[in-house]
Subunit: 232 residues, 2 copies
Amino acid sequence: MQKYMDSLTACPLFAGIGESGLTDTLSCLGAYPRRFEKGETILLEGEPVRCLGVVLSGAVQIVRMGYDGSRSILSKLGPAELFAEAFACAGMTAMPVDVVAAEKADVLLLPAERILHPCEHPCGFHHQMIYNLMRILATKNLAFHRKTEITAQRTTRGKLLTYLLLEAKRAGSRSFDIPFDRQELADYLGVDRSGLSAEIGKLRREGVLSCTRSHFTLLARQDAADVRPQSP
Amino acid sequence: MQKYMDSLTACPLFAGIGESGLTDTLSCLGAYPRRFEKGETILLEGEPVRCLGVVLSGAVQIVRMGYDGSRSILSKLGPAELFAEAFACAGMTAMPVDVVAAEKADVLLLPAERILHPCEHPCGFHHQMIYNLMRILATKNLAFHRKTEITAQRTTRGKLLTYLLLEAKRAGSRSFDIPFDRQELADYLGVDRSGLSAEIGKLRREGVLSCTRSHFTLLARQDAADVRPQSP
DNA sequence: GAACGTAAGTTGAAACTTCAACATCAGGAG
DNA sequence: CTCCTGATGTTGAAGTTTCAACTTACGTTC
């Protein structure tokens, strides 16, 4: 376990709990590490959700069966990342997805019950963990909210501009960098890469924005309602 | 406050806390009710997020400014419903949306700090509330996850089938009712209503499904991979 | 500095969605 | 029973997106 201390301390679930506190906390929670070979199933769709997991080494994938029978990878997680926490905390009876090892992986499994319900002899960090978990769930909620807002737009232009406006707001500036290259941005927005390129080109010619690579600048326009009405 | 006891007990945040416990709990949390007239802003975009809210009476709207300057209503909440909980729990510094009274409304505001951090003299229900809040956040996460999966599909057919498959799984049967009429379903899926109708008709003719009104039945097909491979 | 590889921008055709207008159908009111 | 009304199904035109193939730009390697 000691060899994975880096992954553990980097995991937001254990934020604020020092290396010293971790050992006690983990045994109090009944956490147990397991090793999976590439391709092994860690959590199986349909099974009850008892544990949430932390990747200690290697990588795991969240995998789902599409309506046409195709298997699609929803995400890939590396060391220090958390999985199944929402399923566990929501009290789901059946996993809606598979979690499989993308390569040889060590995983720490934490029984959800033991986290959500206070232990008899309150170990000092239990509350901290609950607080961390809440923050993680809330933060993911916001990320989903963002993405939902973006993909709710019907056109490539709408998605792109909604995304860029949110990024500008986050950066607190009209000028900002995005963490994607074109292909990744297209995947994130759920549109075609070449169509995205075309749309960026059009917006550039229209004087709405300028960009080089991943650096974007939104230009002021007369018709854009970028002033907020005074609060009542 | 007494007159809003129904809204309070119906609010999932207070599940498991009896009427008797509520009064103590609320004062321990520093909750305060406020009345808003129609159109008044309850929480203003850009302001720091200090409180989460419960609708006691009337209705509130979550409102956002679109990229083209249009104001769009993200959702409308009625009595016993919760708002801003994700923003508060994620520790956001600025509200990303406005919350306004859709009609005359009474709202209970709860300072987030007091919920997330344990009080000195541990009131009996504090842990229950944290547990409830966690469950609420996790459940919303799942709802978002669902919706993201659906809207990630590029075509009307893909969205519809993904949605129906998830509903069938939820119902545990190939035959189930959906809680939408066609227009609502189209809005939920983010597609055109008439296009949706057309697609349903096509799927019906193809023998993929049958439906009357809001009752759907997915029919078995040779090419659909609806059998899962054995777990390793 | 020439060759190479990857990322980004272009383009035309095919496929799909949206839009608008209209046809049908079911249920309720009178 | 008939007339409404609201929901649903149909359809063709117009507009967008996707797809595939290619060009251009940029950075690295040898």
